[in-house]
Amino acid sequence: MTQGATTTKATFPSVEWFKAISAIVNDDPGYNHIGTCDATVGVRIPDLEKNYLLTFEAFEVSDVREVTPAGAEDTDFWLEMPYAKWKEMLENIKQNGKADLHHTLNTIDLEDPEGFARSHDGYRRDAFYRFNQTFQYFFDSSAKIDTAFV
């Protein structure tokens, strides 16, 4: 992915930030090329008490909303880490145009003893792996906007 002209500004974490990334990938042939993805994904930032629900449907991210902690966990899987770690990952993506070797979703997941991707269901959790390229592309696309941090 190459860094294009940066025009959108949004604050992480917020519904607007996730919607900005969704708008980018929904209009991106490269994202379509990866193939369909059907999954509900929670995002949890416990120390900020922020929780989101992302709905990936066919070739697009069809819905983004702020939810309760239980709402974020009532998904195929949720991504959870402290705010500082989220910030580090997104700053790395911005700096490199995409995650470097140490900041991919899978690497972060394996290096965290608790796991970055969590689920109450061993089968539904596999969606993290089944669509991993899609989720990586989604977060890598944050390099295309100006992210402000709270």
Binding site: T104, H120, D126
Partner: protein, 362 residues
């Protein structure tokens, strides 16, 4: 040469139209079906099969597709499974469509230019890992392929899914072979996986094959791919392992849901399935019998330890990482068995595996 008048007459005269059997064209012979419209994912089998039942039992001896009219003179083409439970998985249709949508090419979707020279120990360790994975992927293609002629066309969804899996496995052995050669290393030693992995090829039943290959072996290989991504040295390797892990997760998903289906519909097979898992957990338990080596595949283990440790000097750190991976593999295996309805496996698992299990979740 002159043409005889008789022949000239024959070729210049229109032949009588042949008698046509147009019985198939009669409305009473055609099934009444609704017009089908494409959905958000395109024209998938979810759209085409909506509202249509898949029979629980079939008397299949011919190539007749499900929903086609029988012919009295159709020849027998094989001995097929007759019960849906023998081959069915509720997600087969979805996973097949997903597999088709998410295909990738080792030739064009991997940024091969990002592979740069590595120190010898790391390059050789990566090549040994790729040698092992190439070997394993041959088994992963050969094993399900043996079952294709046993799956009746009535359960075509499973047949299509297995075909997509075989394509995935072809791409995996293709991409690992390419990675082994691309940096000038090449394939190294044939692994020791033959004797232990032969149990997969020797399966005598589709469910046996699926339980030991899809649920057990591919679950472990999926973890290996994720570990491969973790220890990768460049974006090309990252992409290879990530894409392979995606494919492997579909195969695993099929197996988990097939196991669930059979336990839900034919619960009397429960003990039989435990027996298959007993058989596979033993040879493939990867029990560490001495420092730095495993009972099943020491060359593979040593390669992972060198890669995870950043080189030969970091092999102790790599061994720790290998144990962390093992623990994750075993716990994920248990979680999938719980989803399938085999939660009691926790108390019956191979002792070495059981020692790696986290406490049960509430």
């Amino acid at each position: 040469m002159a043409i005889s008048p008789d022949l000239l007459h024959k070729v210049s005269t229109e032949e009588d139209p042949p008698e046509l059997d147009l019985s198939w064209l009669q409305p009473r012979e055609a099934q009444q079906v609704e017009r089908v419209r494409a959905g958000r994912r395109g024209m998938t089998f979810d759209e085409v099969e909506r509202g249509r039942e898949v029979p629980d039992h079939v008397n299949a001896f011919t190539l007749r597709p499900r929903d086609a009219r029988r012919r009295e003179d159709a020849v027998r083409t094989g001995q097929y499974y007759s019960d849906k439970s023998d081959v069915w998985s509720e997600n087969a249709r979805l996973l097949y469509e997903e597999a088709v949508q998410r295909q990738w090419s080792s030739a064009t979707d991997i940024p091969w230019e990002k592979v740069t020279p590595l120190p010898d120990d790391l390059e050789r360790a990566m090549c040994q890992l790729c040698t092992f994975l190439t070997e394993v992927e041959f088994i992963a293609g050969d094993a399900p392929a043996q079952w294709l002629p046993k799956i009746p066309n009535d359960y075509y969804e499973t047949k299509l899914f297995i075909l997509s899996q075989i394509m995935d496995e072809a791409r995996h052995l293709d991409v690992f072979r390419k990675r082994a050669f691309v940096n000038g290393g090449g394939l190294l030693s044939e692994g020791q996986s033959g004797p232990s992995l032969r149990i997969i090829l020797d399966a005598k039943d589709f469910t046996e094959m699926s339980a030991i290959m899809h649920v057990f072996a591919e679950g472990f290989v999926q973890s290996l791919f994720r570990t491969g991504e973790l220890v990768s040295f460049n974006e090309a390797e990252k992409a290879i392992y990530r894409l392979c892990a995606q494919d492997e997760s579909r195969h695993l998903g099929f197996g988990v849901m097939h196991l669930k289906y059979i336990l839900d519909t034919v619960p009397e097979r429960r003990e039989e399935i435990h027996h298959y898992l007993d058989q596979v957990e033993g040879p493939l338990s990867l029990d560490i019998t001495q420092a730095g080596a495993s009972g099943a595949t020491p060359f593979f283990d040593e390669a992972i330890m060198i890669l995870a440790g950043g080189g030969l000097k970091g092999v102790d750190k790599g061994a720790e990482r290998l144990m962390e991976v093992r623990k994750k593999q075993v716990n994920e295996y248990m979680h999938r068995l719980e989803v399938a309805g085999l939660g009691e496996r926790r108390d019956r698992m191979n002792p070495f595996f059981r020692s790696l299990l986290d406490p049960p979740r509430n």
